[in-house]
Structure formats: structure tokens, C-alpha cells
């Protein structure tokens, strides 16, 4: 295949997957690099998506399988991009495939190894509130469905090796370096969560029943650590009142970031509705400052949450959260701006909606590709209005949250945009032969 007719996509979340599928479907070769063992990204961690209340993994899994099955897509999971040189039409890429200690050709994903592994560690996919084994797949619908050995926690007892009838365990596996030639690069590295412990007034890390939204989402998920049963982690009780605090770290001049994460008002509304569905007796309060209802269907979603589901929106951002150490119950103190009084309210669980921030690793990616980042860590578009997915490097494009805060539909549309531009650049570049 000519060097120029292939594209490297960095990041296997919904944006990376969409860009890959668009490019592959039109006949270009795609290398999709993802640093975790499975593609899927954040969407795989969600229970439902707003405002449609679709089951997230249900709509995501077919796309993941398509990426896996597509003859034009090569998945490079558990891999990281180390070097990129060259220019549009002819980039030389060096990728490091981290050792899974599993022979991917032989592993059938049957799971017998994990059943017998004696080591249990907190599960990253469940944001640490669930557990996995030292030999694991991140979640049941992982693609590729191949196991991975977590080197750090593995005891090297070799029980997995003995149980595996396909002889797929290879504890001597070494990291592999993959060299590629591509015509264009699409960056879709997504986001991570603001460290809410920086907002110590909310007690995250101190109080067991203060959770961050993505942890709470895992609690609500049927595939999560409690099987979707809404229970308090401290005592297993069913909560009777849950409070959400918006903008923890967002829209803040001190101790946070200045921008708006654009999805939190809506996902809090979604989680609130899920709570009311799971536990009709549980009250839900959402403490907010400015309700961001700008997207298609957003305002109707909030109206439904209020009128049909009885979710209570309070325009106030609590000053602090206190805990009754005997019961684990929480008290929030806030200034009710409508009535102009300071109030307190008790809650069984407090969910913090943290700022969604560009990954710290973007800096490294920026260095490798020569990309400019803004002060927040987002990749800078060449022109925010007329060239939103182009960057300062011709042939390298950005899409999804790493370009700017956005939700799933916007990420999907922008991923297609990056694919279009990548295809355009390839079409316009003189083609080069591979040596």
C-alpha cells in the first residue's frame, strides 16, 4: 500500500473510533493506537447517555466490533506512540506495543485464567470502586477480547499459564516496536477528570459517601460493582437523598480551570433521572450555578427531569460538605440565591461533577507531533472558526474533547470532520512509495 494512503489515529474512544471507521470505510488504511488494553474510551464506562437515555455500551459495542472486524483497521491496543517525523503525506511513526504477556493470536478470551488468578486489585474501569484480577480484560465487552497481565500486580504464580488450554500465556513477552508510514494523523485523546481533592471543602477522599460522577455512574451501571443496585458504599444502605454539586473545578478562577466542561449539567440530569428510576423514594438535588442547556434536546431533558421525575434544581453552589462520622451522612451548606438565606441540607450521598480536563499526557503527544497546546492543555485548532480540526502541523488533525469541551454527538461529528480533512490532505499529497 502506498505510504500516503494510511492514517494513524491516536485514541480509541468514540471520536477515534468514528474517525477510524470513516477513513476505513472509504478505503484508506487505519492504524488505531490506544494506550489501554481495549478501545471504547469513556463511553464504555457510562450507563446511559443523555438526552436519549440510550444504554451506552449497547450503542457503542457494535462500533467497537466494527473497528475490530474492519479489514482496513489495525488495532494497536495497549500501545503508545513514541515518535513521529516527516510531513503530510509521509509521516514515519514509531509505536511501542506494551507486553500483555498474552499471545493475542492464541487467546480466545475465554476467561479461565482470570477465574483462577489469586490477585485482586481495584479496577480502573470502575474508577477504583470495583475489583479486577491481575490478569484481566477491562470490561466484558472489551475489544479486542484478549486478556492482559498487569505486570505490576502479577505474582508470577503462573496459575493462569497452567489453566490456559490455548497456551496463550507468555510471561516472557517483550515490548514490541511497530514502525509505520502514514499520510495523516488524527489525535483524539479525550479527557481526564479534575482532581477534586483540590477542592478539599467537599471532602472527597475523606468522606466515604462523597463520590465523583464517574464513580457514581459505575454504581448505577448494571455491569458495575453493585450490579446497578443503588447503595451507599459506606454501609450498603439505600440512599434517600442524593445531592449533585456542579462545576467542581470548572468555571473557576482559583483552584480549577476557567472553562465550562459543557456536559456536566446534562449528565448530572441523566444520573438524577437514573436515580429516580432505580429508587423512586430517593430525593435528588442538583446544585448548580448556570444551567447549560444549549444542545439539541437538552432543555426538554431538564424539563422532563423536573416535571416528570421530580428532580430538584437549586441555584447555589455549596460552600462546604460536612460529614457525621458516626453515620457517614453528609450535610451541605449553601447560599440560596433565590431566597437569599444560608441553608443546609442533609444527604446520604454527594456526587461531585468535576471539571473534565484535557489529559496531562497531551503535552507529550504535543511534543511528539509538534502540536501547540493552549493554556488548559487542549490542542490548538489552526483557526477556531474556519479550520477547527486542523492544527499548526499540516496533516495532523484533532477531534473530540481534546480539541475543546463537547459531548458525544459533537465528538462524533468532529471525528468525521477530522477524517474528511485527513482524506483531503492525502488526496492532495503526492503519493510516496514504501521502501
Amino acid at each position: 500500500m502506498e505510504a500516503s494512503k494510511s492514517v494513524l489515529v491516536i485514541g480509541g474512544g468514540i471520536a477515534g473510533m468514528q474517525a477510524s471507521l470513516d477513513l476505513a470505510s472509504r478505503g484508506l488504511k487505519v492504524y488505531l493506537a490506544e494506550k489501554t488494553p481495549s478501545i471504547g474510551g469513556r463511553m464504555a464506562q457510562l450507563d446511559k447517555t443523555f438526552p436519549t437515555m440510550d444504554c451506552s455500551i449497547c450503542i457503542l459495542a457494535p462500533k467497537m466490533i466494527e473497528c475490530f472486524r474492519h479489514p482496513n483497521i489495525t488495532l494497536l491496543t495497549y500501545s503508545e506512540v513514541q515518535e513521529v517525523s516527516g510531513s503530510a503525506g509521509n509521516f514515519t511513526v514509531k509505536i511501542l506495543k506494551k507486553p500483555r504477556f498474552i499471545n493475542e493470536e492464541k487467546c480466545t478470551g475465554c476467561g479461565v485464567c482470570a477465574q483462577h488468578c489469586p490477585v485482586e486489585v481495584p479496577n480502573e474501569f470502575d474508577m477504583g470502586i470495583g475489583v479486577r484480577k491481575a490478569i484481566y480484560v477491562p470490561f466484558p465487552q472489551a475489544v479486542p477480547l484478549k486478556y492482559t497481565v498487569d505486570e505490576e500486580n502479577c505474582l508470577k504464580c503462573r496459575l493462569c499459564q497452567r489453566m490456559c488450554q490455548a497456551e496463550a500465556v507468555d510471561l516472557n513477552q517483550k515490548p514490541e516496536v511497530v514502525h509505520l508510514n502514514v499520510g495523516a494523523v488524527v489525535v483524539a485523546t479525550g479527557f481526564e477528570l479534575f482532581d477534586v481533592q483540590r477542592r478539599s471543602e467537599y471532602g472527597y477522599g475523606k468522606y466515604q459517601n462523597v463520590l465523583i460522577s464517574l464513580e457514581f455512574e459505575r454504581l448505577l451501571s448494571a455491569s458495575g460493582p453493585t450490579g446497578g443496585h443503588l447503595l451507599r458504599l459506606s454501609d450498603g444502605r439505600i440512599p434517600k437523598r442524593i445531592a449533585f454539586i456542579q462545576c467542581v473545578g470548572s468555571r473557576s478562577l482559583k483552584g480549577g480551570v476557567s472553562f465550562c466542561s459543557s456536559a456536566c449539567c446534562m449528565y448530572a440530569t441523566k444520573e438524577a433521572i437514573l436515580i429516580r428510576e432505580h429508587e423512586p423514594e430517593c430525593e435528588v438535588y442538583i446544585f448548580y450555578n448556570e444551567l447549560k442547556v444549549f444542545g439539541k434536546g437538552f432543555q426538554d431533558f431538564v424539563t422532563r427531569a423536573q416535571n416528570d421525575w421530580g428532580v430538584k434544581y437549586v441555584r447555589a453552589l455549596p460552600g462546604e460538605v460536612l460529614e457525621d462520622s458516626k453515620t457517614g451522612d453528609l450535610t451541605l451548606w449553601y447560599e440560596d440565591t433565590r431566597e437569599n438565606v444560608t441553608k443546609s441540607i442533609k444527604a446520604d450521598i454527594v456526587v461531585l461533577c468535576p471539571a473534565l480536563v484535557p489529559r496531562a499526557a497531551n503535552k507529550e503527544v504535543g511534543v511528539i507531533l509538534g502540536l501547540e497546546l493552549d493554556e488548559h492543555g487542549f490542542f490548538k485548532p489552526k483557526d477556531s472558526l474556519f479550520a477547527p480540526v486542523d492544527t499548526n502541523v499540516l496533516g495532523v488533525f484533532i477531534c473530540g474533547y481534546c480539541q475543546s469541551p463537547k459531548d458525544i454527538p459533537e465528538s462524533v461529528a468532529q471525528a468525521s470532520a477530522a477524517a474528511a480533512r485527513a482524506a483531503e490532505v492525502i488526496a492532495l499529497s503526492p503519493s510516496k512509495e514504501v521502501h
Partner: protein, 557 residues
């Protein structure tokens, strides 16, 4: 018949050898073997070997769920010369061994039943061909604004022919009327002209101004489109794909806040045009009212996304030209989302723009004041007091709304409008710029209110989506489609309405006809047809009933 142990996943609970033996007692089963891992390269070789040696013309693999490995096994069959639709799977892992780990005997019996059901279906399977159609490498873009032109340029650069149809005499759409674009504050005309100048000389783009689309027939790859110019001139073209980029209108708030009653109550759009033309005379005190005719309890319940930023932008421009002028913005929730827009709120506050929050339940009132001025009466929701502001210019921020003629276009294209009046996409989350009808896409404010940056992203997005079928030139679709027996069909039209993809139409004889490439094979038409004239390939009535009877241990008569 290939029955998988899947290591111990199946073999540890289900007595696979017993099932292998049982399978040989079933009608038409000439060969049956067990595999350790049928999906391994070894297993796949055994399938090919078995096909060759025993002259198999139907293949069943009893193992895990078809949802993962069916394509792999189908491909293996094809390689050995067996049509992939003559392959069937029996799920004896997820639906059997794994769910009944403590009842191995019952699980084994169940596995036998499942295998028997697969055989019952497999016996009735027929080979299928996947229909292929040519795709014309040309696109129709309806709408010559920033979205339409961006999509057109991107497609043209990829080598496709584009027909760009614009109903106005000029290209440019909404941007022609705008002054400055946030957040870069670039002059709208400047930005727009660059793009218009790129479109003009582009050899792949054929621009049709003062033209509307009159009729569209056909399906993806083969749309026959008729245009009509203002002067009556008509033309017909065949295109492979269609992009809707028709933009939106600005709502005129007749009867609200004194609009059209008082001269000095104008829309934000009008203010934009005044600023653009340098025609704004120095106002003493401007009051902007957000959410005018938007986020209502009934009717236009949606938020129009861009009005808060537009108000901030224009407030800052007014302050720049007239620093002594007071500017108030009356808002409900400030939609300063995203990476940069929060800064604008701060900036505006720093420059002295005053913000007053009001609630939906207590909207402001605009009444005539003294000396030709107006009095804006608003309940300040944070200070909890009634505030009166004397103003000589009230600016109403109104939402974008769908064009009046969109209903006609939606019927011509047979694509839906959503509850807010904007075009309705195939899937709100994962297919935001596709229509459910293959080959037709939507972008820009025709989809929903959005700003320039977002419109351009979507426009580039549809350029990718439309390029896919056009780049591969020939489309192959699954053979699981519906087919109508013309003799049985009585033309009742039930299937036509039921099909969510518009894949069925009544032909010249008044009989239903399925366009196989558009059909997705759901089977709803087949189950609903009053004359039982529709059969579903690969999921025929006979095959389904055979499986049900086999489940009950009964053979088909």
C-alpha cells in the same frame, strides 16, 4: 456440525461428545465433530477440511454467541466454497454452559435442543447474494451558506463533483448579514469572502444560485434530482449523495416585549446588522433580553445556543464604540459553554456590562416610558427585587427557527423534521449528521442552532460521511432483506408506512417493491404484511417456525 469445547467453558459443563453423537442422529447431519477451540486457526482449518471431505453444503458451529464470531466463521465457509448464508450458529456457551453452570445434565440436554434448532433452520437456509449498486461520484449540496460551501469545498478537493444549490441570488447564507464572529472577532464578510472566492474557481463545484430542488427520486448512489431556477429554467442530474445545509431563520418576536409596537425594540439580529453597517446611533442605555421566544414552556421549548454569546459579543462592541453607554443583559441561564466562552462573561463584566438574572415564571415587561424611551420592568431573581430600567434601545435575543419551506424539502427528500422543527438525524448520539435514509446527510443550523465553528465541524463531517459511498464506488449490502411477492401484494401500503428507512415504495402497478440496498432487514414489514406477501431472506417464516417446533421436539411437517 462443529461443536466447540471452548477450553472448559463449554466442555466443562456440557457433555460435548454426547452432543456430537446426538447431532449425527439429526436429519441431514452427515458429519459431526468436537473442537477444543473452533475459532482458533486449527478449528477453522478443520471446518474447511470437513466441508471438502464430506461435501457439506450447510455448516453449523455450536459454540459462543454469533454476535462476535459469526463473521469469522462465515468468511471461513466462503473460503471453502460454501455461501456464507448457508452457515448457522448454535449458542451453547452464553445461553447454555455459562448460564447453567450448576446443572450440567440439564445444560447438556439444552445444548442438544439448541443444536437441533440450528439444524432445523440450517436445512431451510438458502444461499444469498449481496446486492451491489454503483454509486455516482457526485453530491448535491442544498444550501450555499458557510456549511454548504465548506462541505462542497471539502468534497471537491477529494475529487468529487458537487452541485451546490442556493435559493438566494448570492452565496453566503446567514454570514452575509453578520458583523463579527466570536470568539476570534473576525469580520464575517472577510471570513465568508475567502470561502466564496475558493468556491468560485473550483472546477468540481457547479454553483446554481436562485435555484431550488423540486424533486428527488431514487436511492443512495442513484438519486435523480430536478432543480428549478427562479426564471423557470429546469435541470436534472444524477447524484450519489445529498447534503442538507439549508440553515435557519431568525425568529421574529411579534407581540413580545413591544416588538413592532415600539420603534426602539429590535431583535439581536437587527442590532448585528446595524453594527455591521455602522448605523447604530449612540444609545444611552441598552437592555438586551435573552430567551425571547425560546426555552418556553410550550412551543419553542429549546435553547438556541448562540444567543448568549451573540449578546455578549454585541454588548462588548457597543461598549467599544460608546464607552459611556450602559448595557444590561437580562438572562435566565448564561450559555457560555466550552473552552473560551466563560471568559467572555468575565470580560463583559469587567467592561461594565450589567447582568440581571430573571426567571421563566417572572419575565420582564417592556412599557412606554417618558420622552419616547422605554421602561423595562424586571424581577431580579438574585436580589429578589423588582428593578426598573429606563432604556432607549431594547434588544431581543430570539432563537433560530426552521425555515418555512423546510417542510416541503423534508417531503421531497423523505427525511423527517424533529420536534423542534429542525431536521432529525438517524441517531442523536452516534449518527448526528446522517439521516436514517442512506446517502442523505445534514449539517449546520439546519440540524440545530449552532455557531460558525460548530457548523464548519459538522460540514466537514458530512463531507466525510458522503465521501464514503462515493469513494468505494460500489456498495454491497447484507442479504438479509425483505422481498415482496407481487402476486400476493394487494397494495394496501402498510409496509410503506411501517418501514423506518423508506425502503419500500409502491411501483407503477401499485404493488410494493423493496429497494434491497436500503432495506436493513429488521423484518417488521414481513411480520405486518396483511397478505403475507413479504418474506424475509435468511429469517423466513418457515425457518423461524421450524426453530420453534424443533425447540419443542417437534419436526416440521
Amino acid at each position: 456440525m462443529f461443536i466447540c469445547h471452548c477450553g472448559i467453558n463449554i466442555g466443562g459443563i456440557v457433555n460435548v461428545p454426547e452432543v456430537v453423537k446426538y447431532a449425527m442422529t439429526l436429519p441431514n447431519v452427515v458429519y459431526s465433530e468436537g473442537n477444543l477451540y473452533t475459532c482458533s486457526s486449527e478449528g477453522l482449518s478443520k471446518i474447511k477440511e470437513g466441508i471438502g471431505k464430506y461435501n457439506l453444503n450447510r455448516v453449523i458451529v455450536a459454540s459462543c454467541t454469533p454476535r462476535t464470531h459469526e463473521p469469522l466463521f462465515r468468511a471461513t465457509c466462503e473460503e471453502a466454497g460454501v455461501n456464507k448464508y448457508l452457515f448457522e450458529m448454535a449458542n451453547i456457551r452464553e445461553h447454555c454452559s455459562w448460564a447453567h453452570m450448576h446443572e450440567p445434565d440439564k445444560a447438556t440436554e439444552k445444548a442438544k435442543d439448541i443444536v437441533r434448532m440450528a439444524v432445523a433452520k440450517a436445512r431451510l437456509l438458502k444461499p444469498q447474494e449481496e446486492p451491489e449498486i454503483d454509486v455516482a461520484p457526485s453530491a448535491l449540496v442544498i444550501g450555499g451558506g458557510i456549511s454548504g460551501m465548506t462541505a462542497a469545498l471539502c468534497l471537491a478537493d477529494q475529487g468529487f463533483k458537487v452541485y451546490l444549490v442556493e435559493k438566494e441570488p448570492e452565496l453566503g447564507g446567514m454570514l452575509r448579514h453578520l458583523h463579527k464572529l466570536y470568539p476570534t472577532m473576525v469580520d464575517a464578510s472577510e471570513g465568508l469572502n475567502k470561502i466564496v472566492e475558493a468556491v468560485k474557481p473550483n472546477k468540481n463545484i457547479e454553483v446554481w444560485k436562485s435555484t431550488v430542488v423540486k424533486q428527488v427520486k431514487g436511492f443512495i448512489g442513484n438519486f435523480d434530482v430536478s432543480f428549478q431556477r427562479e426564471n423557470g429554467e429546469t435541470a436534472n442530474f444524477r447524484v450519489g449523495t445529498i447534503i442538507v445545509a439549508t440553515g435557519a431563520d431568525v425568529f421574529e418576536p411579534v407581540g413580545m416585549y413591544g416588538y413592532e409596537k415600539y420603534d426602539n425594540v429590535i431583535t439581536q439580529f437587527k442590532l448585528e446588522q446595524l453594527l455591521k453597517g455602522g448605523q447604530l446611533e449612540k444609545p444611552e442605555r441598552v437592555v438586551m433580553i435573552q430567551c425571547t421566544g425560546a426555552r418556553e414552556e410550550k412551543g419553542r421549548t429549546y435553547c438556541s445556543r448562540i444567543c448568549c454569546m451573540t449578546a455578549l459579543k454585541n454588548a462588548l462592541l457597543v461598549k467599544e464604540s460608546y464607552p459611556e453607554t450602559d448595557v444590561y443583559i437580562l438572562f435566565r441561564d448564561l450559555q457560555t459553554y466550552g473552552k473560551e466562552y466563560e471568559e467572555w462573561h468575565r470580560m463583559a463584566q469587567d467592561r461594565g456590562v450589567k447582568f440581571i438574572k430573571y426567571a421563566l415564571e417572572k419575565p420582564p415587561e417592556v412599557v412606554a416610558g417618558n420622552n419616547g424611551k422605554l421602561t423595562v420592568d424586571v424581577y431580579h431573581a438574585l436580589l429578589n427585587e423588582q428593578v426598573q430600567i429606563e432604556s432607549d434601545l431594547v434588544v431581543l435575543s430570539t432563537p433560530l427557527v426552521q425555515h418555512e419551506d423546510a417542510k416541503e424539502l423534508s417531503q421531497i427528500l423523505k427525511v423527517p423534521l424533529g420536534p423542534d422543527g429542525f431536521f432529525f438525524e438517524a441517531h442523536v448520539k452516534l449518527r448526528p449528521i446522517d439521516f436514517a435514509t442512506d446517502g442523505i446527510y445534514v449539517c449546520g443550523t439546519a440540524h440545530s442552532p449552532k455557531d460558525t465553528a460548530e457548523s464548519v465541524s459538522q460540514a466537514l463531517g458530512v463531507a466525510s460521511r458522503a465521501a464514503i459511498p462515493m469513494a468505494v464506488k460500489r456498495l454491497r449490502t447484507e442479504a438479509i432483506t425483505a422481498t415482496v411477492d407481487e402476486i400476493l401484494c394487494s397494495g394496501c401500503g402498510t409496509c410503506v408506512t411501517i418501514c423506518p428507512y423508506g425502503a419500500i415504495e409502491k411501483d407503477e402497478k401499485g404493488v410494493a417493491r423493496v429497494t434491497a440496498v436500503v432495506c436493513k432487514g429488521c423484518g417488521t414489514c414481513g411480520a405486518s404484511c396483511p397478505e403475507k406477501a413479504i418474506s424475509m431472506r435468511h429469517f423466513t417464516d418457515e425457518q423461524v417456525v421450524a426453530q420453534a417446533l424443533a425447540a419443542l421436539g417437534r419436526a416440521v411437517a
